[in-house]
Symmetry: C2
Subunit: 245 residues, 2 copies
Amino acid sequence: MAQNRHVHISNDLRRHIKRGTYAPGTPIPAESALMEQYRASRPTVRIALAQIENEGLLIRIHGRGNFVRHQPGIVTYDTASHVADGCAAMDTALQVSVSKRTTKAKDDVAAILGVPVGSVLTEYRYQGHYLTDPYSLALIYVPHAVAVLEAPTHCATPTGEDIREALSRAGVHVVETRTRVVSRLPSQEETKTLAIGAGAPLMEIRRVSVDAESRVVELARIVLPGFSAEAVFTESTRTRELEAA
Amino acid sequence: MAQNRHVHISNDLRRHIKRGTYAPGTPIPAESALMEQYRASRPTVRIALAQIENEGLLIRIHGRGNFVRHQPGIVTYDTASHVADGCAAMDTALQVSVSKRTTKAKDDVAAILGVPVGSVLTEYRYQGHYLTDPYSLALIYVPHAVAVLEAPTHCATPTGEDIREALSRAGVHVVETRTRVVSRLPSQEETKTLAIGAGAPLMEIRRVSVDAESRVVELARIVLPGFSAEAVFTESTRTRELEAA
DNA sequence: GAGTGGTCTAGACCACGAG
DNA sequence: TCGTGGTCTAGACCACTCA
């Protein structure tokens, strides 16, 4: 069936995890035990572990063990669904903590925002957790010249959509949104903050919101593990014609 | 600087490739030579090679060697840019070959298209190449009940946008488009057709086009290596208000 | 047949975490 | 201190490609 040794092991481990033999939050047997169990060398066992780690099934912690990851649902990034209340239909195990910080624009962020390097910005950091495991990170930048908003205390969405509502309440109206999606490997820092493997695909979403004066009022950099993320866009040809008219 | 041995090696190889010391299309030194050069064991060398392979810098061919990949530009999937002519502004080294095939809908495709399982479809296969290296794959399904189109002979886009123009010419008008983007690891088959490593992040775009009668007229499954792909979406709040009115 | 990459082994040493 | 995972080594055998 499975040709490669490590494929056979990862298939078997995957089955155990999906069936619940190895429960979420608990460690699977130590690598030494797996070596005996599958009569394989350590590198072979570790290749199998790396595979299922990159699939989002495992969190490996140095000195502690290899733990079954809690399986959150898919985080859907959807511009069409303007959910009024982030709390609605939210799993209570899903937690998003928001922190607020004042910084100065570095060159890359400044270029996108269209402000001088060193301009004062507010950085909102949305860190999403599902039980004990992290699953999302969003950094949102709003120039002080545009608005200074309070960080939402509760019901924050993982992708920071609520900032745009807050902007609207502050009298800043978004007219156009440009979104860019890429798929890439995580940086070393991202492997830590998202608790993913170095080989786990990652989805990065960059959202730029513009107001009527073509001023960039918000830049969002959202980073999600590929195994629990999708982005959905709906486009109506009708509205394009209306716009042209 | 570099703590890990394999990181040091991959950094060095990456530098050589980007500087052009190792030219595109040519093989880098054999693994045995790299072992001597960096005084490292084979597994260590191979981890370094896997890393830069997953970044899209290397194509490894069993029995032949490890070749520097030609660097195509980024393939941008952009719904907003309706390029009338695919030939315009296309690098001549970029080739897209299209083949046409008649099949029957399997259950997953049938469910999305909203047709019975076993319905007759046309499958258009867009395979993109940059010089000798593949870089894109798009499979597009159109039910026979909707239209039977000729495969475009030239100037095809990597993402198969021209099918929708062909539909329009055939009197089938797309009113709404739903696009879904995910980031994941490639299947074994995809590693071969795209010549990417098993650990290379991949962007999959699913596009569903709907006509005025809410009939699905086209399903596109576009698969691109993450290292050379991005998806861009532009959304205007203004049109949303127009639509509501 | 010679050279290449693909897979696996057995074992060593180090770094981290918890008691 | 001990058990865990993180890294690396030296070497073997196999599979593929090309002359």
